[in-house]
């Protein structure tokens, strides 16, 4: 019983290795992926905001949204590899040209999302609003300098 499973694993691993070595995503697919991750980011922002601002009463779910935001924002910069600057993207050249500034902004968002998740985990409800606003401002600050409004 054990033997075939090991074989399977070895086979799977070698397939992965070969695939990995040959793997080069199409820029358009990277852009689409990035946009989908960002949409998820926005959706969790809207959902968390609605709870924090008292529009809806799904308090039990706030922790999940905050954790999702923390995970998604951990490394926004990694969503912008070189060569993903052509095509249907609103990302400005500045993302790559002023890479250090962009990375700083991305780190800021990571920190702000982290702070929100910790505050929610600690149940420190009087600070939910402030942490949320800081994260929202961080998103806006980056969009202001690095995203073109094109549609």
């Amino acid at each position: 019983m054990k033997h075939p499973r090991i074989c399977q694993r070895i086979l799977l691993a070698s397939v992965c290795l070969v695939a990995g070595a040959a793997f080069a995503a199409e820029p358009e697919d990277i852009i689409k992926y990035r946009q989908n991750v960002m949409k998820a980011n926005g959706a969790h922002m809207a959902a968390a905001g609605a709870i924090i601002n008292g529009k809806v009463d799904f308090k039990g779910q706030l922790g999940d949204h905050a954790k999702a935001l923390q995970v998604i924002n951990k490394d926004i910069n990694s969503l912008f590899p070189k060569d993903s600057d052509f095509g249907e993207t609103k990302a400005l050249d500045a993302v790559w040209k002023h890479s250090a500034d962009f990375q700083k902004r991305a780190r800021d968002s990571a920190q702000k999302a982290d702070a929100l998740a910790r505050t929610v985990a600690a149940g420190d409800s009087k600070n939910y609003g402030a942490r949320f606003k800081e994260l929202s401002d961080s998103c806006k600050a980056c969009h202001k300098d690095f995203r073109k409004e094109e549609q």
Partner: protein, 307 residues
């Protein structure tokens, strides 16, 4: 009642330490403070400051790329040589009401005087009181870089006779005070239509397309349709959501404003009183919906084509 209460909680939750401060408790007797409020609502800083190149506030030099060429905004600090330090209050009022320089030259309507003409005398005087006490910065104006057909400034006179109606905003007696306040702020001060309304080939505002968005916005941006059309505009937004957006920049979908609108919010609209943002939202969502998509057609771009 319930609605009003909810909105209160929500705004109270969002405001925190926001520097809405000074402007919010402007006393009508202090023209400088009133002027600061007008200055925020009118967005003077955004265009007259070259923030991208760390320019000093109001010293000009901000490039505005348009279909007519690139305009470089002028220095409006009180520096006597390079700014407007030698202007009288009358010069200032005439510039904003009539689009004329102290020497009587026409200003290009990239300076949104077709909107500012709608400001009340009281607000215009207050704005002057505020502008003239700002720090003077010595910075020479940069010449506009316009396309050949836009170079003759005298043509602006003909443009004005076609598209420019001077005069202060006249309230609509049939509408509420809040609606009129919103209309005044949106049309006269915040000049939303200068970017959000499409223009004809001659640069005039297109009739029947008020706030319907354009692909030819300033700085090559695509400016969204903000009429209450449900498909192509913001007809699905509630007034409270729009008012929130004007403060925080977050859309009902959780997206964040970027680009020029982030600038308009960060340097202006977020400093307004919350009832003023609510009034703008009420006004904008009361406008006739216009179905007009500004989405760009899909253009397949391959990297190879650029190499």
């Amino acid at each position: 009642m319930l609605f009003a209460h909810k909105r209160f909680v929500l705004l109270a939750g969002l405001l925190f330490a926001a520097p809405l401060a000074a402007a919010a408790d402007a006393s009508p007797t202090d023209p400088v403070r009133q002027g600061e409020y007008v200055y925020r609502a009118a967005g003077c800083y955004g265009c007259h400051t070259d923030e991208k190149h760390a320019g000093k506030p109001l010293a000009g030099g901000h490039a505005l790329a348009t279909p007519f060429g690139t305009f470089y905004t002028p220095n409006i600090t009180p520096d006597p040589e390079t700014g407007i330090g030698r202007w009288s209050e009358q010069d200032f009022l005439r510039a904003l009401r009539e689009g004329l320089s102290p020497a009587g030259d026409h200003y290009y309507p990239s300076f949104p005087y077709p909107s500012y003409t709608k400001l009340t005398d009281d607000d215009l005087r207050a704005l002057w009181a505020y502008i003239k006490v700002q720090p003077a910065v010595k910075q020479t104006n940069r010449k506009h870089d316009l396309k050949w057909f836009a170079r003759a400034r005298s043509l602006v006179g003909s443009w004005k006779s076609l598209y420019f109606t001077p005069g202060a905003y006249v309230p609509d007696a049939k509408k509420s005070a809040a609606w009129n306040r919103g209309a005044y702020l949106a049309e006269a001060a915040a000049h939303c239509g200068e970017c959000h309304t499409p223009r004809s080939a001659l640069g005039g505002i297109k009739n029947g397309m008020h706030y319907a968005g354009t692909r030819d916005g300033p700085e090559n941006s695509v400016v969204p349709n903000i009429t209450p059309d449900r498909k192509t505009g913001i007809g699905r937004w509630r007034a409270s959501e729009l008012a929130e957006y004007l403060e925080t920049g977050m859309t009902p979908d959780g997206d964040s404003a970027g680009d020029l609108m982030a600038e308009v919010i960060d340097n202006g609209l977020k400093y307004l009183r919350k009832e003023d943002r609510a009034a703008i939202a009420e006004y904008v969502l009361s406008l006739p919906p216009v179905e007009h998509s500004v989405r760009k057609a899909k253009k397949p771009v391959k990297k190879e084509e650029f190499e």
